[in-house]
Amino acid sequence: SQQGEEDPQALSIQEGENATMNCSYKTSINNLQWYRQNSGRGLVHLILIRSNEREKHSGRLRVTLDTSKKSSSLLITASRAADTASYFCATDSYNQGGKLIFGQGTELSVKP
């Protein structure tokens, strides 16, 4: 069962530009997490935002959460070629038994 859906599916930008990825979900959540995955590698946790939080920052990353719209966004500022990866949102929902469900991801390409 799919909970989070990322948009866009693919994004190509130049180094130094900002990248924004969106995630929409269907049911109420406890928290929403963003992960990065480089090709052929494991998933790296970026940020966890709880349902009672609206914004969190970590270095060049900014995550917002709008529970009324059931959506979240991940902003990467001043992107670098090393940010090239797939980005996934994952939701932890109480009424789904606390399952951690991933979306299909956004593939980000940052060109030098």
């Binding site: 069962s1 494991g42 998933l43 946790h45 996934f88 038994g97 606390g98 951690l100 991933f102 299909q104």
Partner: protein, 112 residues
């Protein structure tokens, strides 16, 4: 701290053979997840344990897949018999209840 350990890293088997994957989570993490990730897609939750009880296994093809978590620590995921469409990366992750998930490097399975 030590991360989530998975073995083997790679496995090639013929269809109809059986295969087993092993996962050792981070010490103290009550929640353990097994995901299947097919190339180009997001991770699909197969089974989620809390301690040695199953939170959800609704996406686990129970006619061929089985998983156990003995003593609430290590876990094994077995496929018997394997099909071509089982070719994927199998990811194990662990977390504190409601916390961020830490992922292992995964096992890349190729069924020929």
């Amino acid at each position: 701290e030590a991360g989530v350990a998975q073995s083997p890293r790679y496995k090639i088997i013929e269809k109809r053979q059986s295969v087993a994957f092993w996962c050792n989570p981070i010490s103290g993490h009550a929640t353990l997840y097994w995901y299947q990730q097919i190339l180009g897609q997001g991770p699909k939750l197969l089974i989620q344990f809390q301690n040695n009880g199953v939170v959800d296994d609704s996406q686990l093809p129970k006619d061929r897949f089985s998983a156990e978590r003995l003593k609430g620590v290590d876990s094994t995921l077995k496929i018997q018999p394997a099909k071509l469409e089982d070719s994927a990366v199998y990811l194990c992750a662990s977390s504190l209840v409601g916390g961020r998930a830490f992922f292992g490097q995964g096992t890349r399975l190729t069924v020929v």
